[in-house]
Assembly symmetry: D2
Homo-oligomer: 117 residues x 4
Protein backbone atom coordinates (compact mmCIF):
# COMPACT_ATOMS: atom_id res chain seq x y z
CA UNK A 1 0.00 0.00 0.00
CA UNK A 2 1.48 3.28 -1.16
CA UNK A 3 0.70 5.98 1.40
CA UNK A 4 1.93 8.99 -0.56
CA UNK A 5 2.13 10.24 -4.11
CA UNK A 6 5.80 9.30 -4.48
CA UNK A 7 5.04 5.77 -3.32
CA UNK A 8 2.07 5.58 -5.71
CA UNK A 9 4.20 6.71 -8.65
CA UNK A 10 6.83 4.09 -7.78
CA UNK A 11 4.13 1.42 -7.56
CA UNK A 12 2.62 2.39 -10.93
CA UNK A 13 6.02 2.37 -12.61
CA UNK A 14 6.85 -1.05 -11.16
CA UNK A 15 3.47 -2.37 -12.38
CA UNK A 16 4.32 -1.27 -15.91
CA UNK A 17 7.89 -2.59 -15.81
CA UNK A 18 6.85 -6.02 -14.53
CA UNK A 19 4.50 -6.38 -17.51
CA UNK A 20 6.99 -4.97 -20.02
CA UNK A 21 4.43 -2.36 -21.02
CA UNK A 22 6.74 0.66 -21.24
CA UNK A 23 7.05 -0.09 -24.97
CA UNK A 24 3.35 0.86 -25.39
CA UNK A 25 3.55 3.90 -23.12
CA UNK A 26 4.42 6.64 -25.53
CA UNK A 27 2.99 9.99 -24.37
CA UNK A 28 0.72 9.88 -27.43
CA UNK A 29 -0.81 6.53 -26.39
CA UNK A 30 -0.97 7.49 -22.72
CA UNK A 31 -2.80 10.74 -23.52
CA UNK A 32 -5.39 8.66 -25.39
CA UNK A 33 -5.72 6.24 -22.48
CA UNK A 34 -6.06 9.13 -20.01
CA UNK A 35 -8.90 10.81 -21.91
CA UNK A 36 -10.69 7.47 -22.33
CA UNK A 37 -10.67 7.10 -18.54
CA UNK A 38 -11.74 10.72 -18.10
CA UNK A 39 -14.68 9.87 -20.39
CA UNK A 40 -15.63 7.05 -18.03
CA UNK A 41 -15.73 9.58 -15.19
CA UNK A 42 -17.94 11.88 -17.30
CA UNK A 43 -20.24 8.95 -18.16
CA UNK A 44 -21.28 8.63 -14.52
CA UNK A 45 -22.49 12.22 -14.47
CA UNK A 46 -23.92 12.79 -17.95
CA UNK A 47 -27.63 12.34 -17.12
CA UNK A 48 -27.44 13.51 -13.49
CA UNK A 49 -28.47 16.96 -12.39
CA UNK A 50 -25.73 18.91 -10.65
CA UNK A 51 -27.49 18.28 -7.32
CA UNK A 52 -27.55 14.55 -7.95
CA UNK A 53 -23.84 14.64 -8.75
CA UNK A 54 -23.23 16.26 -5.35
CA UNK A 55 -25.07 13.45 -3.58
CA UNK A 56 -23.72 10.16 -4.88
CA UNK A 57 -24.76 6.87 -3.35
CA UNK A 58 -21.99 4.67 -1.96
CA UNK A 59 -21.77 2.40 -4.99
CA UNK A 60 -21.53 5.23 -7.49
CA UNK A 61 -18.92 7.03 -5.38
CA UNK A 62 -16.89 3.82 -5.34
CA UNK A 63 -17.14 3.56 -9.14
CA UNK A 64 -16.24 7.21 -9.66
CA UNK A 65 -13.23 6.64 -7.41
CA UNK A 66 -12.12 3.77 -9.63
CA UNK A 67 -12.40 5.81 -12.84
CA UNK A 68 -10.63 8.78 -11.22
CA UNK A 69 -7.87 6.39 -10.17
CA UNK A 70 -7.42 5.10 -13.70
CA UNK A 71 -7.29 8.67 -14.99
CA UNK A 72 -4.70 9.56 -12.34
CA UNK A 73 -2.54 6.53 -13.15
CA UNK A 74 -2.26 7.51 -16.83
CA UNK A 75 -1.68 11.14 -15.86
CA UNK A 76 1.20 10.05 -13.63
CA UNK A 77 2.60 7.90 -16.43
CA UNK A 78 2.57 10.80 -18.91
CA UNK A 79 4.45 12.95 -16.40
CA UNK A 80 6.92 10.11 -15.78
CA UNK A 81 7.61 9.41 -19.44
CA UNK A 82 7.90 13.12 -20.30
CA UNK A 83 10.15 13.82 -17.31
CA UNK A 84 7.72 16.27 -15.70
CA UNK A 85 7.68 16.82 -11.93
CA UNK A 86 3.94 17.01 -11.48
CA UNK A 87 3.84 18.65 -8.04
CA UNK A 88 6.24 21.35 -9.22
CA UNK A 89 4.34 21.84 -12.50
CA UNK A 90 0.99 22.08 -10.71
CA UNK A 91 2.31 24.66 -8.27
CA UNK A 92 3.69 26.77 -11.12
CA UNK A 93 0.37 26.50 -12.95
CA UNK A 94 -1.55 27.63 -9.87
CA UNK A 95 0.79 30.63 -9.64
CA UNK A 96 -0.18 31.49 -13.23
CA UNK A 97 -3.88 30.92 -12.54
CA UNK A 98 -3.70 33.24 -9.54
CA UNK A 99 -2.53 36.00 -11.90
CA UNK A 100 -5.19 35.21 -14.50
CA UNK A 101 -8.00 35.09 -11.95
CA UNK A 102 -7.37 37.82 -9.35
CA UNK A 103 -9.61 37.37 -6.31
CA UNK A 104 -11.00 40.90 -6.38
CA UNK A 105 -12.14 40.61 -10.00
CA UNK A 106 -13.58 37.13 -10.21
CA UNK A 107 -14.96 36.33 -6.79
CA UNK A 108 -18.26 34.48 -7.22
CA UNK A 109 -18.14 34.68 -11.01
CA UNK A 110 -17.80 31.81 -13.45
CA UNK A 111 -16.82 34.06 -16.36
CA UNK A 112 -13.80 32.87 -18.31
CA UNK A 113 -10.62 34.70 -17.41
CA UNK A 114 -10.42 36.46 -20.78
CA UNK A 115 -13.34 38.55 -19.58
CA UNK A 116 -11.00 40.12 -17.00
CA UNK A 117 -8.27 41.16 -19.39
Amino acid sequence: MADSLDALIARVNAFVTERDWAQFHSPKNLAMAMIVEAGEVVEHFQWMTEDESRNLDTETREQVGQELSDTLVYLLRIAEVCGIDLIEAANKKIDLNAQKYPVDKCKGSNAKYSAYE
Copy 2:
Protein backbone atom coordinates in the same frame (compact mmCIF):
# COMPACT_ATOMS: atom_id res chain seq x y z
CA MET B 1 4.92 26.29 -2.80
CA ALA B 2 3.23 23.00 -1.93
CA ASP B 3 5.85 20.25 -1.73
CA SER B 4 3.53 17.27 -1.45
CA LEU B 5 0.15 16.09 -2.69
CA ASP B 6 -1.61 16.98 0.58
CA ALA B 7 -0.16 20.49 0.44
CA LEU B 8 -1.22 20.79 -3.22
CA ILE B 9 -4.78 19.70 -2.41
CA ALA B 10 -4.96 22.25 0.40
CA ARG B 11 -3.66 24.95 -1.91
CA VAL B 12 -6.19 24.11 -4.64
CA ASN B 13 -9.06 24.12 -2.15
CA ALA B 14 -7.98 27.48 -0.73
CA PHE B 15 -7.78 28.89 -4.28
CA VAL B 16 -11.39 27.87 -4.88
CA THR B 17 -12.66 29.11 -1.53
CA GLU B 18 -11.01 32.54 -1.90
CA ARG B 19 -12.85 33.01 -5.20
CA ASP B 20 -16.16 31.62 -3.90
CA TRP B 21 -16.13 29.08 -6.72
CA ALA B 22 -17.28 26.03 -4.76
CA GLN B 23 -20.83 26.86 -5.89
CA PHE B 24 -19.80 26.01 -9.49
CA HIS B 25 -17.82 22.91 -8.52
CA SER B 26 -20.44 20.20 -8.73
CA PRO B 27 -18.87 16.85 -9.69
CA LYS B 28 -20.81 17.08 -12.96
CA ASN B 29 -19.21 20.42 -13.87
CA LEU B 30 -15.78 19.37 -12.64
CA ALA B 31 -15.86 16.19 -14.72
CA MET B 32 -16.55 18.34 -17.78
CA ALA B 33 -13.69 20.70 -16.89
CA MET B 34 -11.34 17.75 -16.33
CA ILE B 35 -12.02 16.18 -19.72
CA VAL B 36 -11.66 19.55 -21.45
CA GLU B 37 -8.16 19.83 -19.96
CA ALA B 38 -7.41 16.21 -20.88
CA GLY B 39 -8.38 17.17 -24.44
CA GLU B 40 -5.78 19.95 -24.33
CA VAL B 41 -3.16 17.35 -23.41
CA VAL B 42 -4.30 15.14 -26.31
CA GLU B 43 -4.15 18.13 -28.69
CA HIS B 44 -0.39 18.37 -28.24
CA PHE B 45 0.07 14.80 -29.43
CA GLN B 46 -2.60 14.35 -32.11
CA TRP B 47 -0.40 14.83 -35.19
CA MET B 48 2.85 13.59 -33.66
CA THR B 49 4.21 10.13 -34.27
CA GLU B 50 4.73 8.07 -31.14
CA ASP B 51 8.46 8.65 -31.44
CA GLU B 52 7.99 12.39 -31.65
CA SER B 53 5.81 12.26 -28.53
CA ARG B 54 8.68 10.54 -26.71
CA ASN B 55 11.08 13.34 -27.64
CA LEU B 56 9.42 16.63 -26.80
CA ASP B 57 11.29 19.89 -27.09
CA THR B 58 11.54 22.00 -23.94
CA GLU B 59 8.72 24.36 -24.85
CA THR B 60 6.25 21.58 -25.67
CA ARG B 61 7.15 19.69 -22.49
CA GLU B 62 6.46 22.86 -20.52
CA GLN B 63 3.05 23.22 -22.20
CA VAL B 64 2.18 19.57 -21.67
CA GLY B 65 3.10 20.03 -18.01
CA GLN B 66 0.67 22.94 -17.78
CA GLU B 67 -2.22 20.99 -19.32
CA LEU B 68 -1.47 17.96 -17.14
CA SER B 69 -1.52 20.27 -14.13
CA ASP B 70 -4.93 21.64 -15.05
CA THR B 71 -6.23 18.11 -15.52
CA LEU B 72 -4.81 17.11 -12.13
CA VAL B 73 -6.33 20.11 -10.37
CA TYR B 74 -9.84 19.22 -11.55
CA LEU B 75 -9.24 15.56 -10.76
CA LEU B 76 -8.27 16.55 -7.19
CA ARG B 77 -11.36 18.74 -6.93
CA ILE B 78 -13.69 15.92 -7.99
CA ALA B 79 -12.14 13.66 -5.35
CA GLU B 80 -12.47 16.43 -2.75
CA VAL B 81 -16.11 17.23 -3.51
CA CYS B 82 -17.08 13.54 -3.67
CA GLY B 83 -15.21 12.71 -0.47
CA ILE B 84 -12.83 10.28 -2.16
CA ASP B 85 -9.34 9.62 -0.75
CA LEU B 86 -7.48 9.49 -4.03
CA ILE B 87 -4.31 7.77 -2.85
CA GLU B 88 -6.36 5.06 -1.16
CA ALA B 89 -8.67 4.67 -4.18
CA ALA B 90 -5.73 4.45 -6.59
CA ASN B 91 -4.03 1.78 -4.51
CA LYS B 92 -7.22 -0.27 -4.39
CA LYS B 93 -7.63 0.10 -8.14
CA ILE B 94 -4.08 -1.07 -8.76
CA ASP B 95 -4.81 -4.12 -6.58
CA LEU B 96 -7.77 -4.86 -8.89
CA ASN B 97 -5.69 -4.25 -12.01
CA ALA B 98 -3.03 -6.66 -10.75
CA GLN B 99 -5.71 -9.37 -10.66
CA LYS B 100 -7.08 -8.47 -14.09
CA TYR B 101 -3.63 -8.38 -15.69
CA PRO B 102 -1.53 -11.17 -14.18
CA VAL B 103 2.15 -10.76 -15.06
CA ASP B 104 2.55 -14.28 -16.48
CA LYS B 105 -0.34 -13.87 -18.91
CA CYS B 106 0.05 -10.35 -20.21
CA LYS B 107 3.78 -9.62 -20.15
CA GLY B 108 4.68 -7.71 -23.31
CA SER B 109 1.13 -7.80 -24.66
CA ASN B 110 -1.21 -4.86 -25.21
CA ALA B 111 -4.33 -7.04 -25.48
CA LYS B 112 -7.27 -5.84 -23.43
CA TYR B 113 -7.68 -7.76 -20.19
CA SER B 114 -10.94 -9.39 -21.34
CA ALA B 115 -8.76 -11.48 -23.62
CA TYR B 116 -7.34 -13.17 -20.50
CA GLU B 117 -10.63 -14.12 -18.91
Copy 3:
Protein backbone atom coordinates in the same frame (compact mmCIF):
# COMPACT_ATOMS: atom_id res chain seq x y z
CA MET C 1 -21.46 25.18 -50.80
CA ALA C 2 -22.26 21.52 -50.14
CA ASP C 3 -26.01 21.13 -49.66
CA SER C 4 -26.08 17.53 -48.49
CA LEU C 5 -23.99 15.11 -46.46
CA ASP C 6 -22.52 13.43 -49.56
CA ALA C 7 -21.48 16.79 -50.93
CA LEU C 8 -19.97 17.74 -47.55
CA ILE C 9 -17.98 14.50 -47.39
CA ALA C 10 -16.67 15.11 -50.93
CA ARG C 11 -15.71 18.65 -49.97
CA VAL C 12 -13.87 17.54 -46.82
CA ASN C 13 -11.97 14.85 -48.71
CA ALA C 14 -10.95 17.33 -51.41
CA PHE C 15 -9.76 19.76 -48.72
CA VAL C 16 -7.50 17.07 -47.30
CA THR C 17 -6.21 15.90 -50.68
CA GLU C 18 -5.34 19.43 -51.84
CA ARG C 19 -3.17 19.88 -48.74
CA ASP C 20 -1.62 16.41 -48.96
CA TRP C 21 -2.82 15.72 -45.42
CA ALA C 22 -4.05 12.15 -45.91
CA GLN C 23 -0.63 10.99 -44.71
CA PHE C 24 -1.45 12.35 -41.23
CA HIS C 25 -5.02 11.04 -41.24
CA SER C 26 -4.62 7.63 -39.66
CA PRO C 27 -7.76 6.63 -37.75
CA LYS C 28 -5.66 6.84 -34.58
CA ASN C 29 -4.74 10.48 -35.20
CA LEU C 30 -8.23 11.38 -36.41
CA ALA C 31 -9.83 9.88 -33.30
CA MET C 32 -7.56 12.13 -31.21
CA ALA C 33 -8.46 15.17 -33.29
CA MET C 34 -12.18 14.36 -33.01
CA ILE C 35 -12.14 14.13 -29.23
CA VAL C 36 -10.13 17.33 -28.96
CA GLU C 37 -12.88 19.11 -30.90
CA ALA C 38 -15.56 17.39 -28.80
CA GLY C 39 -13.74 18.82 -25.78
CA GLU C 40 -14.08 22.30 -27.26
CA VAL C 41 -17.83 21.73 -27.49
CA VAL C 42 -17.90 20.60 -23.84
CA GLU C 43 -15.87 23.66 -22.80
CA HIS C 44 -18.72 25.96 -23.82
CA PHE C 45 -21.10 24.21 -21.43
CA GLN C 46 -18.92 23.28 -18.46
CA TRP C 47 -19.93 26.12 -16.12
CA MET C 48 -23.43 26.66 -17.49
CA THR C 49 -26.53 25.31 -15.81
CA GLU C 50 -28.61 23.00 -17.99
CA ASP C 51 -31.14 25.82 -18.44
CA GLU C 52 -28.43 28.21 -19.58
CA SER C 53 -27.25 25.63 -22.10
CA ARG C 54 -30.78 25.49 -23.52
CA ASN C 55 -30.82 29.26 -24.04
CA LEU C 56 -27.62 30.22 -25.81
CA ASP C 57 -27.05 33.74 -27.03
CA THR C 58 -26.37 34.19 -30.75
CA GLU C 59 -22.60 34.42 -30.41
CA THR C 60 -22.27 31.31 -28.30
CA ARG C 61 -24.57 29.33 -30.62
CA GLU C 62 -22.35 30.37 -33.52
CA GLN C 63 -19.25 29.20 -31.64
CA VAL C 64 -20.86 25.91 -30.64
CA GLY C 65 -21.79 25.40 -34.29
CA GLN C 66 -18.15 25.87 -35.27
CA GLU C 67 -16.90 23.33 -32.73
CA LEU C 68 -19.63 20.84 -33.69
CA SER C 69 -18.58 21.29 -37.31
CA ASP C 70 -14.96 20.52 -36.53
CA THR C 71 -16.05 17.43 -34.59
CA LEU C 72 -18.22 16.33 -37.52
CA VAL C 73 -15.44 16.82 -40.05
CA TYR C 74 -13.09 14.50 -38.15
CA LEU C 75 -15.91 12.02 -37.60
CA LEU C 76 -16.55 11.97 -41.36
CA ARG C 77 -12.84 11.50 -42.01
CA ILE C 78 -12.60 8.51 -39.66
CA ALA C 79 -15.55 6.89 -41.44
CA GLU C 80 -13.94 7.65 -44.82
CA VAL C 81 -10.53 6.26 -43.93
CA CYS C 82 -12.01 3.15 -42.26
CA GLY C 83 -14.40 2.52 -45.16
CA ILE C 84 -17.52 2.92 -43.01
CA ASP C 85 -20.83 4.07 -44.53
CA LEU C 86 -21.91 6.35 -41.72
CA ILE C 87 -25.61 6.65 -42.60
CA GLU C 88 -25.89 2.89 -42.84
CA ALA C 89 -23.92 2.33 -39.62
CA ALA C 90 -26.02 4.89 -37.73
CA ASN C 91 -29.27 3.28 -38.87
CA LYS C 92 -28.04 -0.15 -37.78
CA LYS C 93 -26.99 1.28 -34.40
CA ILE C 94 -30.39 2.87 -33.89
CA ASP C 95 -31.98 -0.51 -34.63
CA LEU C 96 -29.83 -1.97 -31.84
CA ASN C 97 -30.65 0.90 -29.48
CA ALA C 98 -34.36 0.39 -30.10
CA GLN C 99 -33.95 -3.17 -28.81
CA LYS C 100 -31.87 -2.09 -25.81
CA TYR C 101 -34.28 0.68 -24.87
CA PRO C 102 -37.85 -0.54 -25.47
CA VAL C 103 -40.34 2.33 -25.31
CA ASP C 104 -42.60 0.68 -22.75
CA LYS C 105 -39.77 0.10 -20.28
CA CYS C 106 -37.77 3.29 -20.45
CA LYS C 107 -40.22 6.04 -21.28
CA GLY C 108 -39.32 9.09 -19.23
CA SER C 109 -36.43 7.37 -17.47
CA ASN C 110 -32.74 8.19 -17.74
CA ALA C 111 -31.62 4.87 -16.25
CA LYS C 112 -28.88 3.12 -18.18
CA TYR C 113 -30.17 0.33 -20.37
CA SER C 114 -28.49 -2.36 -18.26
CA ALA C 115 -31.17 -1.62 -15.68
CA TYR C 116 -33.74 -3.08 -18.12
CA GLU C 117 -31.99 -6.35 -18.74
Copy 4:
Protein backbone atom coordinates in the same frame (compact mmCIF):
# COMPACT_ATOMS: atom_id res chain seq x y z
CA MET D 1 -34.12 2.84 -42.81
CA ALA D 2 -33.10 6.46 -43.20
CA ASP D 3 -31.21 6.89 -46.48
CA SER D 4 -30.03 10.45 -46.00
CA LEU D 5 -28.92 12.79 -43.23
CA ASP D 6 -32.30 14.52 -43.02
CA ALA D 7 -34.04 11.17 -42.67
CA LEU D 8 -31.52 10.12 -40.01
CA ILE D 9 -32.08 13.32 -38.03
CA ALA D 10 -35.86 12.79 -38.19
CA ARG D 11 -35.42 9.20 -37.03
CA VAL D 12 -33.20 10.20 -34.10
CA ASN D 13 -35.63 12.89 -33.01
CA ALA D 14 -38.57 10.48 -33.17
CA PHE D 15 -36.58 7.96 -31.10
CA VAL D 16 -36.10 10.57 -28.39
CA THR D 17 -39.69 11.81 -28.47
CA GLU D 18 -41.17 8.30 -28.21
CA ARG D 19 -39.16 7.73 -25.02
CA ASP D 20 -39.88 11.18 -23.58
CA TRP D 21 -36.15 11.79 -23.32
CA ALA D 22 -36.07 15.40 -24.55
CA GLN D 23 -36.26 16.46 -20.90
CA PHE D 24 -32.74 15.01 -20.36
CA HIS D 25 -31.35 16.39 -23.61
CA SER D 26 -29.99 19.74 -22.54
CA PRO D 27 -27.00 20.74 -24.68
CA LYS D 28 -24.88 20.42 -21.53
CA ASN D 29 -25.88 16.78 -21.01
CA LEU D 30 -25.66 15.97 -24.72
CA ALA D 31 -22.15 17.40 -24.96
CA MET D 32 -21.14 15.09 -22.11
CA ALA D 33 -22.77 12.10 -23.83
CA MET D 34 -21.06 12.97 -27.13
CA ILE D 35 -17.57 13.12 -25.63
CA VAL D 36 -18.16 9.86 -23.76
CA GLU D 37 -18.92 8.18 -27.09
CA ALA D 38 -15.92 9.89 -28.71
CA GLY D 39 -13.87 8.36 -25.89
CA GLU D 40 -15.16 4.92 -26.87
CA VAL D 41 -13.90 5.56 -30.41
CA VAL D 42 -10.50 6.59 -29.03
CA GLU D 43 -10.38 3.48 -26.83
CA HIS D 44 -10.27 1.25 -29.92
CA PHE D 45 -7.12 2.98 -31.15
CA GLN D 46 -5.19 3.80 -27.98
CA TRP D 47 -2.70 0.93 -28.07
CA MET D 48 -2.61 0.48 -31.85
CA THR D 49 0.15 1.82 -34.02
CA GLU D 50 -1.01 4.22 -36.73
CA ASP D 51 -0.49 1.46 -39.29
CA GLU D 52 -2.64 -0.95 -37.31
CA SER D 53 -5.37 1.68 -37.11
CA ARG D 54 -5.31 1.92 -40.92
CA ASN D 55 -5.84 -1.84 -41.23
CA LEU D 56 -8.73 -2.81 -38.99
CA ASP D 57 -10.14 -6.30 -39.02
CA THR D 58 -13.83 -6.67 -39.83
CA GLU D 59 -14.99 -6.99 -36.24
CA THR D 60 -13.11 -3.92 -35.04
CA ARG D 61 -14.33 -1.85 -38.00
CA GLU D 62 -17.88 -2.86 -37.12
CA GLN D 63 -17.33 -1.76 -33.49
CA VAL D 64 -15.72 1.51 -34.52
CA GLY D 65 -18.73 2.12 -36.78
CA GLN D 66 -21.03 1.64 -33.81
CA GLU D 67 -19.14 4.09 -31.61
CA LEU D 68 -18.91 6.64 -34.43
CA SER D 69 -22.67 6.26 -34.87
CA ASP D 70 -23.34 6.96 -31.21
CA THR D 71 -21.07 10.00 -31.39
CA LEU D 72 -22.90 11.22 -34.49
CA VAL D 73 -26.33 10.75 -32.92
CA TYR D 74 -25.45 12.98 -29.96
CA LEU D 75 -23.80 15.48 -32.28
CA LEU D 76 -27.03 15.66 -34.32
CA ARG D 77 -29.05 16.06 -31.13
CA ILE D 78 -26.92 18.99 -29.93
CA ALA D 79 -27.40 20.70 -33.29
CA GLU D 80 -31.14 20.01 -33.14
CA VAL D 81 -31.62 21.32 -29.60
CA CYS D 82 -29.46 24.40 -30.24
CA GLY D 83 -31.20 25.16 -33.55
CA ILE D 84 -28.02 24.76 -35.61
CA ASP D 85 -28.17 23.70 -39.28
CA LEU D 86 -25.19 21.37 -39.25
CA ILE D 87 -24.58 21.16 -43.00
CA GLU D 88 -24.64 24.95 -43.26
CA ALA D 89 -22.42 25.36 -40.19
CA ALA D 90 -19.90 22.80 -41.46
CA ASN D 91 -19.67 24.50 -44.85
CA LYS D 92 -19.08 27.87 -43.22
CA LYS D 93 -16.40 26.34 -40.98
CA ILE D 94 -14.63 24.80 -43.96
CA ASP D 95 -14.65 28.22 -45.62
CA LEU D 96 -12.88 29.58 -42.52
CA ASN D 97 -10.45 26.66 -42.44
CA ALA D 98 -9.57 27.26 -46.09
CA GLN D 99 -8.48 30.78 -45.11
CA LYS D 100 -6.54 29.58 -42.06
CA TYR D 101 -4.77 26.84 -43.98
CA PRO D 102 -3.95 28.13 -47.47
CA VAL D 103 -2.87 25.32 -49.78
CA ASP D 104 0.39 26.95 -50.85
CA LYS D 105 1.57 27.40 -47.27
CA CYS D 106 0.59 24.19 -45.56
CA LYS D 107 0.74 21.50 -48.23
CA GLY D 108 2.21 18.37 -46.69
CA SER D 109 2.76 19.99 -43.30
CA ASN D 110 1.06 19.14 -40.03
CA ALA D 111 2.07 22.39 -38.33
CA LYS D 112 -0.75 24.12 -36.51
CA TYR D 113 -2.25 27.00 -38.44
CA SER D 114 -0.90 29.60 -36.00
CA ALA D 115 2.50 28.85 -37.51
CA TYR D 116 1.29 30.43 -40.78
CA GLU D 117 0.11 33.69 -39.34
